[in-house]
Subunit: 436 residues, 2 copies
């Protein structure tokens, strides 16, 4: 499970991070001890929960955040910063600490999902890259979790690579897998992250042949009777008839990619059963999202293929997280000019639960103040991710993160799993200490 | 302007492309001559035009589409395809032709924006990668063109990297630049594509210091009086006062990132003028999209910073283009089971214009049939991109593509530039020959 590419990530950065660095190096403030906090002011579009995605990719990207000769030369040639700053960048290696919510953890408005502590210089340059990863991966993971929840245990295949940037496709497949999707179409996600890949044939394969029958024969010859035959190129009823006549009643599955898939699935099930193909599964795809998946619950569907909606965050393609300076040399700081105020001070969080395990509230409190009481059913939410610039030893695996999503969804109050727009499933509370 | 990374793009592909290949190699159909066509069935969300983005990245990605030992070994280890197919993939180099709309060209429903011709084997494996690039880049470019059009000549800075996948951020900066944005915050876009980068300071820089005055002094010392001071960390009126007292009346610009930026810009202009800073420009940012930009036309704003909305395609994060097999050994083919029918046959396109240069209609016609008359003011839309697998010599530069977007927008009927939802600005017509 390759986590880093060995390629520098240092220029995946906003110009102003380096001009701030340059000015701060010049006046000595670059060495002040700072805490930057990543959080979302709100959940997107009436969502009731978010799921943190990308944490492990952030850890890898920080390790690759080095300014090699090529990066320094580009910055010199374009005059982005001065020679003193270039020398500093050439030696840069993040030396601070990172704590955060483990990947797959639920989050709510104000949850401190990641905290970067170190000198201003160390921490400021990571802003853009950290946010890119968390905002993208959390948007996809949050949408995917709603789909997995709507699928209610039926398998889901992620097949949206073609609808998003080619590298974002790999990260999307990974996020969807953490959310509970079973397989992905994306081969690079298989190589980079060990995610099982799947796929058989598109309409093009049928059209390539002189008849649907010849196409099915070729596919079964190459991939076996356990394959999935796509039956909606011409006429679905005839397609199913041909599929079973070619593959026999032990055909693995059929796929329907268009039309009113609920109605078609019912008709297909009857037809397959009548043909003796009682074990042949029905896979549906074609513009499915969490609402369509939920609407198909009562239909004889065995698996869903989901594309566009999952890789675009189902209407919310970015999680809207921000990276805010909250503490300088132990002093809380915050912007104050508008409704966009942040709460100053480095924060920690715990989640309170009922004895039954149902989540009650997200408690976000100042690290410098008295810690709220941690009840028997409560849980601290941040864990160490890097110490002195080095990743900690026991980062969660993808499997751990998958399990965490499942546990998180189980812990939500029942309203929290509703797909309709509403308030966050649990409130975020800030103990009185923070108002001081 | 590095176009390729030299890294293999071959696994940025859906599993089923390779299983189809495997089955087609086994039954001999892999060598049939095919044409695949990329088009959008519709424009997103009431949009009146689309702009093709990513063409040049597609050309580069095809050149890097090679299965090296690492890719072959992954496919062997995971059993995706058989040994015969692995041998074929190890020797794969695209040997066909690609024609398409040049980057920056307008497109409409059914426009054949890219056509890949070659053997089935040659062309089928490129589907996912080609669509990923075109769908992402066209979504961003199309949204960005609406913003550039709304800005009506005022400069726009792209600063959305933190809201999208870290690699998508680079492609987004590039697409926005083609659309007419002047600069980007993204340093890698500067390195990879030669796009001018810009940026000065964030709120964090002010908060790092003991006072706003000290922060401004440090910034001016490092970046000169021509810099842009961010004045809304605490109180904007006092921020502007401090900014001019520190930098003098020749301060380059102030930036306002929150609040009702229209009202604030007017107040700021009056205050700056009263302080003698009549040449100090006003940059506004903070959740701007094309509608907000248009609403600010009458305000004294000198430049816009745009983030989230541009990198997420302003509500339409994917262009929804498809890659359809339309011709096999000279025979038109098309799916027929549902409303999603395609029109069979390899197609060409021309755009008709009035003598004034205003576009009239998009004519999409069969390459095999009689060509429609090409009037004096009409224009053929597809150009060669690859021949025998090699990129053609005179691919458009980014500057060419920027000019093409400008010309395209000028050619639209006036309704076409309206931001409100509506029909495509010009109709797509299919001459009668095609019904045959």
């Amino acid at each position: 499970m390759a986590a880093t590419t060995g390629l520098s990530t240092a220029l995946l950065t906003d110009h102003y991070e380096l001009t701030m660095l340059s000015a701060a190096l010049a006046d000595g403030t670059a060495q002040r001890r700072c805490a930057f906090e990543v959080f979302a002011r709100r959940l997107p579009d009436g969502r009731r929960y978010g799921v943190v995605g990308g944490t492990r990719r952030v850890v890898a990207a920080i390790a690759d955040f080095r300014f090699g000769p090529a990066e320094v030369e580009h910055l010199r040639a374009t005059g982005v910063v001065d020679e003193d700053t270039l020398r500093w960048l050439a030696d840069y290696r993040f030396g601070g600490d990172v704590d955060g919510y483990p990947e797959g953890e639920l989050y709510f408005p104000g949850s401190p999902v990641l905290t970067v502590t170190g000198t201003f210089a160390d921490a400021v340059v990571l802003e853009t890259l950290v946010l890119s990863i968390l905002n993208h991966d959390s948007a996809v993971l949050s949408a995917a979790a709603r789909m997995a929840s709507a699928a209610n245990g039926r398998p889901i295949i992620e097949m949206g690579s073609r609808r998003t940037h080619e590298a974002a496709a790999v990260a999307s497949a990974r996020a969807a897998h953490i959310a509970g999707f079973d397989t992905t179409s994306n081969l690079e996600a298989g190589r980079s992250w060990g995610i099982p890949t799947a796929g058989t044939c598109a309409h093009a394969f049928t059209l390539l042949h002189d008849s649907e029958k010849e196409a099915f024969e070729a596919q079964v010859a190459a991939l076996g009777v356990g394959t999935t035959l796509l039956v909606d190129t011409y006429d679905i009823t005839r397609g199913i008839e041909t599929a079973v006549s070619v593959a026999g009643p032990r055909l693995g599955a059929i796929r329907i990619d268009s039309g009113d898939v609920g109605v078609l699935a019912r008709q297909a099930r009857e037809q397959l059963d009548a043909l003796g193909a009682t074990g042949t599964r029905i896979v549906v795809s074609g513009d499915l999202d969490e609402y369509a998946i939920a609407a198909l619950r009562a239909e004889p569907v065995d698996a869903y293929g989901v594309g566009t909606s999952v890789v675009t965050g189902s209407g919310s393609p970015t999680a809207g997280m921000v990276y805010k300076l909250v503490e300088v040399d132990g002093r809380p700081v915050a912007k104050r000019s508008s409704h966009k105020e942040s709460r100053g001070g480095r924060k920690l969080a715990l989640r309170r639960h009922k004895p039954t395990g149902t989540a009650l509230e997200e408690v976000v409190y100042l690290a410098s103040g008295p810690a709220p009481e941690l009840g028997e059913h409560d849980r601290l939410l941040q864990v160490p991710l890097l110490r002195g610039g080095d990743p900690v030893d026991d980062l969660p695996t993808l499997g751990d993160s998958r399990a965490r999503v499942r546990q998180g969804l189980v812990s939500l109050p029942w309203e929290g799993l509703k797909l309709s727009a509403g308030e966050p499933a649990i409130p975020t509370v800030h103990p009185a200490q923070e108002q001081a």
